[in-house]
Each structure stands twice: as C-alpha cells, then as structure tokens.
C-alpha cells in the first residue's frame, strides 16, 4: 500500500485532470491563455516589448529556464526605457493562482480589485498561462447561462 501524502490539492495544483462535479466547471487553468509571451531576466526590455506587441499582447511573463515565474510586465512596465534589462523593469514576484481555482471565484476577485490579468501557475511556480479578466468574465457568464438553462429556466 502507498500513501500519496501531498494528496488531492497537490494533484490539482499541478494542473492534472480530475473527475467529479467540479471537474465539469471551468477553472482558471482552463481559461488562462497559454500563448502569453514570455521572456528571460537578461533580455532587453525594448526587444521584449516589440516581440509582445507584434504578437498582439500588452503583457509578458518573466520565466527562468524551468518556466518558473519570476516576474510580470504589464503595459506600464513595458513602457519603461527600452534599454533596461527585464530584471530591472519587471514587477517581481507577482501574485499567482492555481489552475484549480474556480473561474467564478477568481472573476469576482478580478472585478472587485480591477485586476486585468493574473498569472496561473502550478504549485511549484511553473507558468500554466495568463488569465485575462475579460476571458474570465466571459467564461463565468457562459457557465451561469448553461446552469440556468439546465435548471429548465428556473431562477
């Protein structure tokens, strides 16, 4: 017999699939954008900004070689002097959230706090994706609509 000591929370925090009623509902990791631009600490801000904007983004996540999140560049940080190194320009150690957080809960927080985006990471800090508030709100609304219809329109 074996004991998986770290348990279910460890499993979910790693973004691994699960079963059950919650598994049917969208979570932060499902909605987070996996194609968010990323960069390294030693890159030049101007190069990173050009790359991000060419890809249609106004944000970039700073990672190390193991995809661990070290920092975040939102539009304000990207506007700094282009010759800065990323390490100097970034917002270090941003608040990050686990993939299993329900989309309804995190949407409510993002609206309440007026936060445009949040990095979603595994329990060991590796990037899953960047959750955008507009995507979170849309997924939350879709969920409500689906649940409303599955109740037969009862409110």
């Amino acid at each position: 017999m074996f004991d998986y000591e770290d348990g279910k929370l460890d499993w979910l925090a790693a973004g691994l699939p699960s079963e059950g009623t919650n598994a049917q509902r969208p979570r932060a990791g499902d909605i987070a954008r996996k194609d968010v631009p990323t960069c390294r600490l030693d890159e030049r801000l101007g190069d990173v900004r050009d790359r991000a904007r060419w890809a249609g983004w106004d944000a970039c996540v700073v990672l190390n070689e193991e995809r661990v999140v070290f920092g975040l560049l939102r539009s304000k940080e990207l506007e700094a002097s282009p010759d800065l190194r990323i390490e100097e320009a970034m917002r270090p150690g941003p608040s990050t959230f686990r993939p299993f957080v329900s989309i309804e809960e995190i949407t409510a927080f993002m609206m309440e706090h007026d936060l445009e985006s949040s990095p979603i990471t595994t329990s060991d800090g590796r990037l899953v994706g960047l959750l955008l508030r507009e995507d979170a709100a849309e997924a939350s609304l879709d969920l409500h609509e689906r649940e409303r219809h599955s109740d037969g329109g009862q409110t």
């Binding site: 074996f2 004991d3 691994l16 059950g20």
Partner: protein, 67 residues
C-alpha cells in the same frame, strides 16, 4: 505501514494498474477526485477494503493534503 510516494510515482503506479482510493468524505470525493479513484471514507476503510479492493494490485490512498 503505507509507503509515502509523490505525484510522479502515483502516475507510474496507476499506469501500471494500481488501485487508487480517496479516503475523504463522500461530498468532497464527489466534487473532485483523481481519475479512476474510488471513495472509501477513512472510517469505513477497514471494513470495505477487503471486499472492494483487489489484493493482487497495488493500492494508493490519498486525502486532501499532508496537513
């Protein structure tokens, strides 16, 4: 005494045919459980394990976390 294992070992064991048992209360199991896990809340584990589990296959048990 069960041997402690990590997530990677869980995956290897399950791929190899191990049975996986969630010892949390039924409502927590219903919300979320590992794929393929069966529910045996801790207080019923002893009485149900003999009938529900295959003695020829390894068994992995888990709960919420290590706390």
């Amino acid at each position: 005494m069960p041997r402690p294992i990590d997530r990677d070992e869980v995956r290897r064991l399950v791929d190899g045919g191990a049975q996986i048992v969630d010892v949390l209360p039924a409502n927590e199991y219903e919300s979320d459980h590992l794929p393929g896990a069966i529910n045996m809340p801790l207080r019923r584990l002893e009485e149900e394990a003999r009938s529900a589990l295959d003695r020829g296959r390894p068994v992995v048990v888990y709960c919420s976390d290590s706390a």
